[in-house]
Symmetry: C2
Subunit: 323 residues, 2 copies
């Protein structure tokens, strides 16, 4: 199976983490260099990476910092890891950074208390964690392909970091004829720039629509299934995903279409009302590709994510990413 660049968008080479700059796709494939925690936080905050990419950046940043401190004592390494975790946790509010970083902090503390070498334990476990997630995501790609039948037309929103494109490639191998519709996903246009691009790249039949056209294509019967990702989930099945997902879920219900969500289960939060939702600067609404297109001082409200009640979800396609 061809792997989409978005499937594994960050790779450690030596002491430098190379993170795919998703804001430049489809114009070019370029990578941001992350050499310390500060650069990692900036890369996340400026949304150069997003969704699953954040997970890779977080785990790899611990490895980068270990390399930046070759002579630290075990006690110093635990402090370093705690400091790194705290900084990463504050980078953006909705993605469950603390759920990932606390795993690494746990390893470090346990190693110290058991008088094991902190550096090698953390390195080995982090690598193992990453490889485990990789295997689980590949398995989920196969599970996505399973819910797509010959003749289906699948609507998606925003971008699910390579998994849908790879599932599309699997469907093609299995001789299923599948169509995809993707929303452009304003304000960041991840659908237009990432999803349309990566689906086309694997040879899938993909059609771009405005976020405004979801009701229209459903009313015309042009799609029969919805598949979206998630950035965070709750014990009761509520989940957070890119702004716009809520209304697509409501429309799927109204038109009787199955609504699938790629989920990472978490028990840390009971229900959706407890998920912190990032409110992005309103100014980003008045910009397109970084350039302001509206004069004047217009108020804007830009919640980055929707929290979707579990009642709208037909089926979770889940993987457990806890360490």
């Amino acid at each position: 199976m061809t792997e989409s660049p978005l499937f594994w968008p960050a790779t450690l080479k030596g002491k430098t983490l190379f993170v795919l700059n998703e804001t430049l796709i489809p114009k070019r494939l370029a990578y941001v260099k992350v050499r310390n925690t500060r650069e990692a936080v900036n890369c996340i905050r400026e949304m150069k990476t997003r969704a699953f990419g954040q997970f890779l950046v977080v785990l790899n940043t611990f490895l980068v910092e270990l390399k930046n401190h070759p002579k630290a004592t075990d006690q110093q390494l635990v402090s370093l890891i705690e400091k790194t975790a705290a900084a990463l946790n504050k980078s953006r509010p909705t993605f469950p950074f603390a759920e990932v970083t606390s795993v690494v902090v746990g390893w470090a503390k346990q190693a110290l208390s058991q008088k094991q070498p902190v550096r090698s334990i953390v390195e080995r476990n982090t690598q193992g964690y990453l490889m485990g997630i990789r295997a689980k995501r590949l398995e989920r790609v196969a599970n996505i392909a399973k819910v797509i039948a010959d003749g289906d037309s699948v609507l998606t929103h925003c971008n699910v970091s390579g998994e849908l494109a790879m599932a599309a490639a699997l469907c093609a191998q299995e001789k299923k004829r599948v169509q995809f519709f993707c929303t452009e996903t304003r304000p960041y246009l991840q659908g237009a720039k990432l999803t349309a691009w990566e689906l086309k790249r694997v040879g899938a039949d993909v059609t771009l629509i405005a976020d405004n056209a979801v009701g229209n294509v459903m009313a015309r019967g042009l799609v029969n299934k919805v598949i979206v990702g998630s950035d965070r989930s709750c014990a009761n099945g509520d989940f957070a995903n890119k702004i716009g997902t809520y209304q697509i879920a409501v429309l799927a219900k109204e038109f009787g279409l199955p609504f699938y969500v790629l989920l990472q289960p978490s028990k840390k939060i009971k229900s959706g009302k407890d998920i912190p939702v990032e409110i992005r600067p309103a100014d980003e609404l008045l910009k397109f590709e970084g350039k302001k297109f509206i004069n004047g001082n217009i108020n804007g409200f830009y919640p980055g994510f929707d929290v979707i009640p579990h009642k709208y979800v037909t089926q979770q396609i889940a993987i457990d990413v806890r360490g």
Copy 2:
């Protein structure tokens, strides 16, 4: 009441019709000169004017052509009016051009058959028609203000050509505190550029949101009413309006919010399935402010309008624009 420039966006001066170039707002207030039918059709097709502006352009184009042919016989004037009507009817598919032009053609033919002067009859009736519509629209502004209560937060979509801004001004005069949310309305951004601008211009409290954020603001309880316009309507109450209106109607139903539509009743078409919907060039989806932002050959589907079943409409705020 302050009149919004969008309320009456075309004015005849001498032999030239000055049409507000809505694509340049809010950067500047500039007018396109329309001196003949060809220029009128181009102005409509390129969406320099839209919605109610089209109605003004159509009626005034007959006046322009009469002035361009000062020596035509009555028989020649009827042919001229028929030719002008045919060209205008073909300019865009969804707005009911033929319903407007057929009225003028009817006057001309009747005048000829009754041996009355075609020129003066058509001029007098057209002017009267325009003034009648103006009075009806001002009345509708008052009716919009009536459905808005103190403390309301109104969501709107696309742009209703001045009426909502003027209703907002009326509400302010009546000391009603009202908030407005407007969608940006991709791909043409009429909400961000026209609606936010004209509401702000009359001093209203307006907040811009992405088209993706409608479900979010409804789930948060930030809006309690929806008011949208219409481009065409049917005998059964189904109506056409800018792409995105259908999904807002579904969301209003899901969240139990009243959904008002500014309607021009028509009996010519039985139900929504018979409304011809304009499919705009997919390329317009890949452009922002006229500049292509996506490389590559991405398929797009861009229906210009939604057809909304009448079951979603809580109340019509109607005016009869038939001659």
